[in-house]
């Protein structure tokens, strides 16, 4: 500190600047000093630093909280009109009978849960999600690792891989039919292989209408949607700083070790969002299934949307309402489980 300078903490309660010669008050004892400073310290504290920012923020926050409802109003109005209010009606109907008059308690739920078509559709949907989502995320992750470059090149690969998502399903279905129809490219390839291996077998399966429809749906779905997840993974990879990799390289870490100890932990945040957005996209597989195999496809790909469209065509409103309630309950249960898991994870992380 400069000669003659005064520590800042004391400038507030002294009416002198740094340049004036030092004048000290007569020391009245430690107790007196503490008593005198009590009010002073309180005044200083109320004016400085965090408290000043808090008071300012309070004003802005209040204004924003009021404005928020104006910003939200159009969106909320539509959500209420098109979703919330009719959903209450749906809940009500799921407890009424077919005529919509008498209450039947949980009989509708029992009926739907016991419905074999519903069980088949639900199990197929769960099976599809359980198989397709991990495959999709792994494939897109592998592609992201392949395509990722920090110097901004490799755009051709990115464009190419996202292109399938942009092509309309109705147009692509023609190509899938070319490959998978009874005299299509897949059967031709298998026939050629059988001929080369000198096996007497003629392949003319109608793949789309057999139990092979499930793998076909998965392949076409991954072909179409890997690009979107690829973009998410690339964003996550770009957010990991390069210095970590350089430090690891200097310490002698190989590619596999770098992947395990830097990349994967760094992508843990992206993983959750990729999962959510993949689930959102996964229900659109119905479009491909409908265009490839029609409204009543093979049993292996008969999923919830097929069942609901069947109920819709037969005007089975009661079943549809009950089914909707069951789906929403399932979604809420999964969200609650995920939230609980995250809470426990965090608590374990804190204690550990």
């Amino acid at each position: 500190m400069r000669k003659g300078a005064v520590p800042v903490s004391e400038i507030n309660d002294r009416e002198q600047t740094e340049e004036e010669p030092l004048r000290r008050r007569k020391w009245t004892g430690y107790a007196g000093w503490r008593r005198g400073n009590r009010g002073r310290r309180a005044r200083v504290r109320s004016r400085c630093g965090r408290n000043r920012r808090r008071r300012q923020k309070h004003g802005i926050r209040r204004r924003q909280a009021r404005a928020a409802w104006f910003f939200l109003a159009p969106s909320l109005a539509g959500v209420v009109v098109f979703t919330a209010v009719p959903f209450v009606d749906v809940v009500r109907r799921s407890f009424l009978d077919a005529m919509g008059r008498t209450r039947v308690g949980l009989a509708n739920y029992a009926a739907v849960c016991g419905n074999t078509a519903f069980r088949l559709a639900a199990s197929n949907t769960v099976r599809f999600l359980a198989v397709c989502l991990p495959l999709l995320m792994l494939t897109s992750f592998a592609l992201a690792l392949l395509v990722f470059r920090r110097d901004g090149k490799g755009n051709l690969y990115k464009t190419t891989l996202v292109l399938p998502m942009v092509i309309p399903v109705a147009a692509m279905v023609l190509v899938w039919k070319i490959v998978f129809c009874q005299d299509g490219l897949l059967n031709e390839l298998l026939n050629w292989l059988a001929g080369a291996a000198q096996v007497i077998k003629v392949w003319d399966n109608d793949w789309v209408n057999s139990s092979a429809a499930f793998p076909i749906l998965i392949i076409t779905y991954i072909w179409k949607n890997a690009g979107y997840d690829l973009l998410l993974w690339l964003a996550g990879l770009a957010s990991i700083s390069e210095s970590l990799y350089d430090a690891a390289r200097v310490d002698g870490a190989g590619a596999w070790a770098r992947l395990r100890y830097i990349t994967l932990p760094g992508l843990s945040g992206t993983f959750g969002l990729v999962l959510i957005l993949s689930v959102v996209n996964s229900f659109r597989v119905y479009r491909e299934a409908y265009l490839l195999a029609g409204s009543y496809p093979d049993m292996s790909i008969y999923m919830i949307p097929h069942l609901f469209s069947h109920w819709f065509l037969t005007l089975d409103v009661q079943n549809m309402c009950t089914g909707s309630m069951l789906l929403v309950t399932a979604a809420l249960a999964i969200a609650a489980a995920a939230g609980l898991a995250r809470l426990m994870f965090r608590r374990l992380g804190k204690s550990g």
């Binding site: 539509g78 891989l161 399938p164 942009v166 009874q182 072909w223 119905y286 265009l291 409103v317 309402c321």
Partner: protein, 299 residues
């Protein structure tokens, strides 16, 4: 640094492949994957330029004209622009369907922007009571498939007498939750300092949103609108559920039927249907990447 790492890697347990080989291998795998993407597209493009007799010779079975071996080709043997002429000049039905698609998609996108952008701004920048449960509700709506709200939507549209009109498809699409989610994530990435500077200059909330928020959140808006366009351009379940008249059908429903009526134009129609989303994507590609990146960053 490079020499050092090479020395260290030599002393490591396994010697990795030399850099040149690794780069070539990577290029080869990338090229193979891209080929997997390009081959079906080239197949479609080639088929779009084939005259009718060649189409029936090659692709009779996928077009539903009887069982015959598929003789696929990546280049047409007799290239001809006839399918496109037939489609664009002699198929009035196609124009009606294309126009239907446009009527159903473009107002929906405009509505999504007008309704969703302010809501996304509120979720991203303001803190108010009930923000977390409300945002959770939006995420839940986003995740639920169309079939869950199908009945509710049908009843509401019936009550409002919008069934069997274009509004039956436009209105539910305007209040979709996915664009709000994407735009929220994008608005969250705007630095607070930018807005504080606006407030210091005397901007109110509305002005800050219009003059600072919208320009800064442009990638997210483009992403939301592009993904919304693709989703609505391909819409299948909604027209089937809410539209009865075939004259109101969009292109996504008409295309599968075109193969039965006029096999010659099936692939050409597919290419024409593909053009708007692909062109929009190529134009908005960098914004799409930024917007998707923003939605993937966890707070």
């Amino acid at each position: 640094m490079r020499d050092l790492s090479r020395k260290i890697s030599v002393t490591a347990k396994r010697k990795p492949l030399p850099r040149a080989v690794r780069a070539r291998l990577r290029l080869a795998v990338c090229a193979a994957v891209c080929l997997l993407v390009w081959l079906p597209i080239i197949l479609m493009l080639a088929a779009a330029f084939m005259p009718e007799d060649e189409l029936l010779y090659r692709y009779a079975e996928p077009l539903g004209a009887g069982r015959e071996t598929v003789r696929a080709a990546l280049l047409p043997s007799y290239p001809s622009v006839k399918p496109f002429l037939e489609l664009l000049f002699r198929s009035p039905g196609f124009y009606v369907m294309f126009w239907n698609s446009c009527i159903q998609v473009i107002p929906a996108l405009a509505g999504q922007f007008l309704v969703g952008a302010p809501a996304a701004w509120a979720f991203a920048r303001f803190s108010f009571t009930g923000k977390k449960p409300l945002f959770f509700l939006y995420v839940l709506l986003m995740v639920l498939p169309f079939q869950v709200t199908q009945v509710s939507n049908y009843l509401v549209l019936d009550r409002l007498h919008f069934l069997n009109t274009h509004l039956a498809l436009i209105l539910p699409a305007v209040w979709a939750a996915f664009p709000v989610f994407i735009m929220t994530k994008s608005f969250e990435t705007i630095p607070e300092a930018l807005l504080e500077a606006a407030y210091l200059d005397g901007a109110g909330e509305l002005r800050a949103f219009l003059h600072v928020g919208l320009p800064s959140g442009y990638p997210g808006i483009v992403t939301a609108l592009l993904l919304g366009f693709i989703d609505n351009w391909n819409a299948l379940e909604q027209p089937v559920a809410f539209l009865k008249e075939m004259s109101l059908w969009p292109l996504s429903l008409y295309l599968p039927n075109i193969a039965q009526e006029k096999a010659a134009v099936a692939f050409a129609a597919g290419i024409v249907m593909m053009m708007p989303p692909v062109l929009l994507y190529l134009n908005g590609q960098s914004e799409l990447e930024q917007g998707v990146a923003a939605s993937g960053v966890k707070e």
